[in-house]
Amino acid sequence: MSSNIYKNKKPLIFFLAPAFAFMLIFLYYPFVKNIFNSFCDIRGLGTAARGLNTPWYANYSRMLSDENMRTALINTLIMILVTIVGQVGIALLLAILVDNVKHGAKFFRVVFFFPIVISATALGLLFNLIFLYDKGMINQLLGAMGVGKLTDWKDETHALITMMIPVTWQYVGFYFIILVTGLNNISEELYEAAAIDGATRFQRVRFITLPLLYNVICTCIILAVTGALKVFDLPWVMFPKGIPFGKTWLTGTYMYYQVFNATDVDYSSAISVLIVVLGVILSKAVNKIFKERDY
């Protein structure tokens, strides 16, 4: 009798209801509404739909022939690859190096994590100054080294790299901290035993650290892939409207542009549906490829 109160789960529903209602109103309803909007004709933010598009799937067929959309998808896929290799890869390397440092590990942790606490907009402005055509830091350094001609780091040739570098750099610290935490969970005894057996430092990393860190790396990769799909603020600050020649569009920036610059609300709704579908498919695929292992 005394334990009955714990078996009765009904009160739980009472306490879960507010959070559920919140999600229902502010997430699921807008999401479903957004899917519906993608089939409608909407002539501006805040205005009601003027009915369905003709044909109702017009926005989706438009996506197939939209060159900017194609660029955005390709750039986003490149961004995912760069994120996996650049962010998680560099974070792993730094984490292993810091783990092997005897003094100053705390200092390096703070230094590598620091970019995370700066807002992406501020970082965008910072990198704008670094890559600025006239008086930019890099061009000034090149000038000091005798390079007379200014380089336009945002032209067609350099734009994509100029955009990817700060985005990659920004999140290295995030994955670095996750990986360092994972490294701390590996028992020192394993390393000591391996050292007694004559394993070199590289062999210890190859045969102890990496296998035991596998699940943490998988988590980082899943976070990186889904995060790359949503990258928006920093690229938008540095490359508004996909400049130059629409070469720097990402799915996130192109969706924002369609709402707030082109005021094509229904088309941007369709793009956001595509982003969600892409996100679900990619995260499922990554989950399948990088399945967590039990040890």
């Binding site: 501006g44 205005t47 055509y133 032209d155 020649f245 629409g246 707030f260």
Partner: protein, 459 residues
């Protein structure tokens, strides 16, 4: 069972506590509103002796907020009107951006529009004008014959929907060519004036370029709008400029193609910054301030921007954009793109109607408009009375320019729905580099405009 009762009792206590919290809040609110009412009643009694309209709460939304140069002027004026009349303003002004426009549109959609709205009178107002949710000036004058009688009706900014005036404007804008005088001195050329022809101007640009400077500061990647206007204007006239082409090969369509070809030619001659296709407007503006570029075509709002950005404002002046064809250099782009609306919701409430009319008459009096407008255009019959001593050299040059105009036209881009501007405005880099043929880009815009029209309008 006891446990169940205890749980129920606990739930009751929680519910009562929550209700009590709400109740306290309510009672606090009641106290506040009561004390405010008491204060207002006192004020009402005091002011009531002076004016009978006191005690009305007016919901007002304007764009005089944030960094708007008139934000403080508006705050002061609204405060003074409240003190004078005893009415209260619930102000929901915000910076004019797409989010603000969306808010206004949504407010009208759901019936929570303000009583008085200071807003754009172009295409942005079409939805609520079409829905009959604002009152026309003519209708207001039937009851208040002196309403906005200090304004020139033809300059008030009629709605594109039915060419009827709905809003009373305050300050307008003009577009002109700002000049960095030191760059021209270095290049050994004079500041262009009303007599400078287009060919002379091209010659000046070439000399500036030969002297190692950028002739024109503009980001074609981000803000090609001003040059789009003037190069097309050069192939039309003040009374024909702000008319949309119907076809690419009609008079206006040909003017658009010819204007864009002029822009392409200027790009090919290297008159724009080297990074004009990848740089931002901020970068090109800075190059103008830093003395690396000679000319900048922009609006009257840039006077304040330049004054703020430089310590040597006397190094800058503003003049007419050189012309060719029928257009004279003294024919400028300008107009009054915003004004005060009274919504139908306020008009149907007799108290609010009285207060709204009083508020707008106060905010659009000659004295107030002069204060807000300074060097920008107004619709005042007697013109703005500006104390020139308060103006910088650049401000005076702007005023002189406006005082000597021979013609004025609205910007034709205001006739194009934002969604349809994309192929030319955002596609300008492709146009000037020849990746897209100019007639194709114009045709695409015109097709989009046609598709954008509602079916009944097309008929």
């Amino acid at each position: 069972m006891k446990k169940k009762m205890a749980a129920a009792a606990l739930a009751c206590v929680m519910a009562v506590s929550l209700a009590a919290c709400g109740g306290n809040e309510q009672s606090e609110n009641d106290t506040t509103s009561k004390s405010e009412t008491d204060k207002e009643t006192g004020k009402e009694e005091k002011k009531g002796a002076e004016k009978k309209t006191g005690g009305v709460e007016l919901n007002v939304t304007t764009t005089f907020a944030g960094n708007d140069t008139n934000a403080q002027n508006y705050k002061d004026a609204a405060g003074k009107w409240q003190d004078d009349t005893g009415n209260t303003i619930n102000d929901t002004s915000a910076t004019s951006d797409e989010t603000f426009k969306a808010r206004v549109a949504a407010d009208f959609e759901v019936g929570s529009e303000p009583d008085v709205l200071f807003y754009f009178n172009g295409m942005d107002s079409n939805s609520f004008v079409e829905a009959g949710k604002v009152i026309s000036i003519d209708d207001i004058r039937k009851e208040y014959p002196e309403y906005a009688d200090n304004m020139k009706d033809e300059l008030m900014g009629a709605s594109p929907v039915d060419n009827v005036n709905y809003s009373v404007p305050v300050n307008g804008y003009w577009e002109g060519m700002f000049v960095n005088k030191s760059v021209l001195e270095e290049a050994g050329v004079d500041v262009p004036n009303a007599d400078t022809s287009w060919d002379d101007f091209m010659g000046i640009c070439q000399k500036v370029k030969d002297a190692g400077y950028t002739p024109i500061a503009a980001s074609l990647a981000q803000i090609p709008h001003y040059w789009f206007e003037f190069t097309i204007y050069n192939h039309l006239a003040p009374d024909t400029h702000a008319v949309l082409p119907e076809k690419v090969d009609d008079e206006h369509g040909k003017a658009w193609v010819a204007g864009l070809e002029d822009m392409k030619e200027m790009y090919e001659k290297g008159f724009f910054p080297e990074n004009t296709l990848s740089g931002t407007d901020d970068e090109t503006f800075q190059s103008f301030i830093d003395g690396k570029a000679a000319f900048l075509v922009d609006g009257s709002w840039k006077v304040g921007g330049i004054e703020e950005a430089t310590d040597d404002v006397d190094n800058f002046t503003v003049t007419y954009v050189p012309a060719k064809g029928e257009r004279k250099a003294t024919d400028i782009i300008g107009g009054l793109s915003s004004g005060y609306y009274i919504t139908k919701k306020a008009w149907d409430d007799p108290d609010k109607r009285e207060a709204a009319v009083s508020f707008i008459e106060y905010m659009t009096s000659d004295e107030m408009v002069s204060k807000f407008a300074l060097t920008s255009a107004t619709a005042l019959k007697d013109g703005a009375k500006v104390d020139e001593k308060e103006l910088s050299g650049l401000g005076k040059a702007g005023l002189e320019m406006v005082n000597n105009i021979t013609g004025i036209s609205d910007a034709v881009q205001d006739q194009i729905p934002t969604e349809c501007r994309v192929p030319i405005f955002d596609g300008m880099p492709n146009i000037v580099t020849g990746k897209v043929k100019i007639p194709d880009a114009v045709t695409e815009v015109l097709t989009m405009i046609e598709d954008y029209q509602p079916e009944d309008a097309k008929k």
